[in-house]
Amino acid sequence: MHKVRITLFLLMAAAILVLALIAGPRMINPLAMSATEREILLSIRLPRVAVALLMGMALGASGAILQGVLRNPLADPYILGISSGASLAAALGLLSGFYVFGRSSVPVSAFIGASLVSVLVGAFGWKRGGLWPERLLLAGIGLNFLFSAVLMLLMSLSSDEGLRRAVLWMFGDLSMADWTLIPSASIFIVIGLGIALFRSKALNALILGDEFAYSLGFAVQRERLILFAAMALMTSASVSLGGTIGFIGLLMPHIVRLLLGADSRLLVPASAIAGGAFLCFADLVGRSLMPPLELPSGTVTAVIGAPYFLYLLRKKDVLGV
């Protein structure tokens, strides 16, 4: 029974991927392409879908990990302030004309910002030799408010153009996606995913509670730290690729839990796949709804994600309450 569901799930994800490549706003038939269409497919659509896939995978997996580590079904990588920290760093980079890494300067600053915030959250969440879920959550929320405030201050003081660019970046802009950042981001995301997959058992045990995790033979604080680091790595890479796109980390684990159960060994990779497919789909919708106007993918995920999340809340199984 389970295998059937998994197969269907994978097939659907694959179908969405293919659709994202060949559909909207113009259908491209890969078997009969003109030179222009081939150009569009390879230079524009392919990197765009690749970025969406990578980001979605990173965020989906991060959400699954975080919800387990924090034992909180509302946990999302962005709740911990990682997105506002990254946005602040990106905005600073944009407005100060930081150009050391050439065209990749803004993504690199976003990555640095996200990583720094993760470390900060970890530092505030640390006490007596370990990371504590409640402290992490509170520290993250607090830092989120702080960085958002500083960001708003910065934006109110900045020029129109810098402002416009910063805002556009934050909304999750995949329209200029190209191959430059994909290799380095992929490495980080693959490493993060790998760590998480290898430590799925520890994640399951952590969900049962620190005592049971200890009783089952895990070094609780160490496992928590490793999983947190993997999550931070993936989220930072994702933010550097395409800005802040919300709801994926929050929503995908819940959907996968409904379909395939809560076992982390399945939940983490399935959330990754679901996230990748969902973002590809959101990007497809964003660019196909009112062509040639392109809605930022972050907006689409929010518009689809928020109502669906509220709907999910009505199903008791999801939260166990």
Partner: protein
């Protein structure tokens, strides 16, 4: 199995501990648990029962003294090896994630690289939850949930179960059910059970109780020997006498109020 071994399996030797910022709560504590023993750790709230269990489990490290498992320092064990021998059961079971019974029981395999001796189905059957194998743990009653975790410890194969007030908030029916289950496990598999309690009536059911006050042992032994009037007064600050009734059970004899 373990009951053939006559020496102590888990020992606390002159253990002292206090939480940072608190007064000394455990001071120079020594006791041992043998194979197949069923011990009740009785004491008022805040008497240090939980802390003693955590020290015994190795969840907290003593400031002084040593905890030994099978005559080796507990701290020297690798986490997974210790998990195969010793199991800790917290007071609060907080499972809001929709794991199925089977999934949780299966987690008992985690300390092992090879499949364990007992199959998951057998463990679920032993606790009477085989027919609910695929039910979400969130849909079970409190008593059933505890049984799920007991089944998990069966898979874990630990010889010692340290349980922190497992009967709290259970109706008497489920308390009896739970105790009977543990008794079966003790008899069939030779598991040692140490259970923290603060209900004197339950403690009377045990063959061996250890009375705790302020982190120190007031007495160890059979309930009729240990739970005398003065002892209860000292440990619980209340004046109640115990009397023998039929079937060798003790009941309190005067009206409480």
């Amino acid at each position: 199995m373990f009951s053939a071994y006559s020496g102590p399996i888990l020992e606390l030797d002159r253990v002292s501990f206090r939480y940072p910022g608190a007064g000394r709560i455990i001071d120079d504590l020594t006791f041992a648990i043998g194979g197949g023993e069923f011990i009740g750790l009785l004491g008022a709230n805040g008497s240090g029962k939980s802390t003693i269990l955590k020290l015994a489990a190795g969840m907290v490290r003593p400031d002084r003294g040593i905890v030994k498992l099978w005559d080796r320092p507990l701290a020297a064990y690798r986490n997974k090896d210790r998990a195969k021998l010793l199991c800790y059961f917290p007071q609060h079971l907080d499972v809001s994630v929709p794991f199925t019974v089977r999934e949780i029981v299966g987690m008992g395999m985690y300390p092992y690289d090879i499949p364990p001796a007992m199959a998951v189905d057998e463990a679920m059957d032993t606790v009477g939850l085989l027919d609910k194998a695929d039910v979400y743990v969130t849909n079970l009653s409190g008593g059933e949930r505890r049984r799920v975790f007991i089944a998990m410890t069966l898979i874990q194969g630990a010889g010692i179960l340290l349980l922190d007030e497992p009967l709290a908030n259970l109706d008497i029916r489920y308390q009896i059910e739970f105790l009977r289950l543990l008794r079966r496990l003790q008899e069939q598999k030779g598991i040692s059970v140490v259970m923290a309690l603060h209900d004197i009536n339950v403690a009377l059911q045990f063959e061996k109780v250890m009375v705790i006050k302020n982190g120190a042992v007031l007495g160890i032994g059979a309930p009729e020997a240990v739970l005398t009037g003065p002892m209860i007064r000292d440990a619980f600050d209340v004046s109640i006498e115990l009397r023998k009734a039929e079937h060798g059970m003790y009941i309190t004899h005067e009206k409480w109020f």
